[in-house]
Subunit: 327 residues, 2 copies
């Protein structure tokens, strides 16, 4: 792959080049990593899309929502990229978009680009790869980059840390606790969308929406929120209802953050966050790349969990050994 | 300090030896670190207290609550240690117990031990030091170790990760959002105590309590909670009302977790967590102990936040430099 030519093609909107470049950043081979870094440096950072993170458990209607939302945006003349973060090592049945056929219309729209998540991934790598894929889509002049996650483990936090707006898609609650939102997520989410506000579930969706609104209001106001945010709104992806109103809310929030300087501050903070994360991950990967040290790490972990040695002492032992070997 | 003798004195309940040992684990000097490790190894891990974490913002009545709660426990024949985690670098006026006079009765109780938090601390060190102070108090046969924090930044998470039960003390809310709970904390807290349920504020405290109960019920059930938990209860530290009932709830929860095996699983998970944290922190401290590498870290961070270089690339650059120098 000629880097300069590929960079040029991506900037001019060539979809095959974009797809190949995403495959390149997904690779863990050292040679590919170097080429990916080179390509990203060539592309620069001038173009910036609106980065929207979307989390929701399987069955909540994510694919249908993204299809409707995406079609609405392309209908307004925007170019939309959809990326998926799926930290599970093997793809589970109904989990995520992997399958483009679940977004049939959007996948055939020339102004949309859908990239399924690759199988067999590790979380650390997922975060870096997804951030690099976002950068590629921005270089390719997409207006909106939508990153979806199933919200397992730390993937929600990771996606929130790479989004300008982070949305949570929920189904109407069947009862008191039947489909409660995971608590930590309330800290990071900017808007709750209660889907399936249609047919028999409509009233229930409205009530769920009111419940989450009150819950959100009970919580401490964050500096990144104007009055009334974060808020919960009801939508029906199935009947294409309320999605325009939800988009209006997103734009209101985005405009407020841009005016108040919070937008830029957030991106700066996110870059710093990922830099420190990458340094930590890089150091740890150096440590575990030494098989003798890695074996000792496992032994010490067993001793720690068995209460035979204290965590701090075990860590000091391990690190001394590592630097004695690498020094 | 003779380690074996000191260990022996601590086990026999000598308060001065305990106090000096805590000063030792607070020290960052290499020689003291080695002595502290030696002492902790001598003391073993046989005795385990009930570790209660308590978070609450200044003004919520933490000192009064701890005084009443502590006196009740010592009145029942228990020995109670109170430790403070204050990650702020300089002590702020009304922040925390630093001042033993705020817990006048408890500080004079022979079955209680109050250790103010030292000034000038860094968070990483705070967590290790506090865990080691807990270990010292356990070796000294305290039944309850209460760790309080003002809940600034990550200190709440750190305290939650070293507690068997983690409590949040709140004041009655004055209005919709006036004193909302920080969202992330709902993920980790086992019980909310709404203080100041007395005089003019009594009704308001009851309402706040009901509000938080509903909010907690809207959220997803955690495997570490029996039915009805986490719950919100109203107390008055001032009038010494409801504290016995709150203690009953804590005991119910503790007993359930012990029976279900969650208690042990949680301690094992916490040890593993702190081991990995210590390894990460240790690696990072090796990196920043090289002044040339540290200077480059700062430069690269500036470039990252200015958008001149991507986080992953900057991290790779830094780590290569570090291992080239240390290798």
């Amino acid at each position: 792959m000629d880097i300069a030519t590929t960079a040029d093609k991506i900037k001019r909107g060539d979809r095959r080049s974009l797809a190949r470049a995403i495959t390149l950043v997904e690779s863990t081979r050292a040679q590919d990593r170097a080429a990916a870094a080179d390509l990203l440096a060539h592309l620069g950072t001038e173009n910036q899309a609106l980065r929207i993170g979307l989390s929701g458990t399987p069955g909540v209607g994510k694919s249908t929502f993204i299809e409707r939302f995406g079609m609405m945006l392309t209908g307004q003349g925007m170019r939309v990229a959809v990326l998926a973060v799926d930290p599970s090592s093997t793809r589970s049945g109904g989990s995520i978009l992997g399958d483009k056929t679940r977004m049939d219309l959007l996948s055939r729209d020339p102004n949309a680009f859908i990239r399924p998540s690759p199988s067999q991934t590790q979380l650390g790598g997922v975060a870096r790869r997804t951030r690099e894929a976002i950068a590629l889509c921005e270089a390719a002049n997409f207006d909106i980059v939508l990153v979806e996650t199933v919200g397992v483990g730390q993937s929600e936090t990771a996606v929130a840390e790479m989004s300008d707006l982070f949305l949570l898609l929920l189904a109407p609650a069947g009862g008191d606790e039947l489909q409660g939102v995971k608590r930590g997520i309330m800290e990071t989410c900017d808007m709750i969308l209660v889907n399936k506000a249609d047919g028999d579930l409509k009233l229930q969706a409205m009530r769920t929406c009111a419940d989450y609104s009150s819950a959100l209001h009970l919580m401490r106001k964050r500096p990144q929120d104007p009055d009334d945010f974060p808020k919960a709104v009801a939508v029906s992806a199935l009947e294409d209802d309320g999605i325009g109103a939800a988009w209006d809310e997103m734009q209101t929030l985005a405009a407020w953050r841009k005016d108040s300087g919070i937008w830029d501050a957030r991106r700066t903070q996110q870059s710093r966050f990922w830099f420190h994360e990458e340094v930590r991950a890089g150091l740890l990967s150096q440590l575990t790349s030494d098989s003798a040290v890695k074996a000792q790490l496992r032994m010490l972990e067993d001793d720690v969990t068995a209460g035979k040695i204290r965590p701090a002492h075990a860590a000091e032992t391990l690190i001394s050994k590592f630097f004695a070997r690498s020094g």
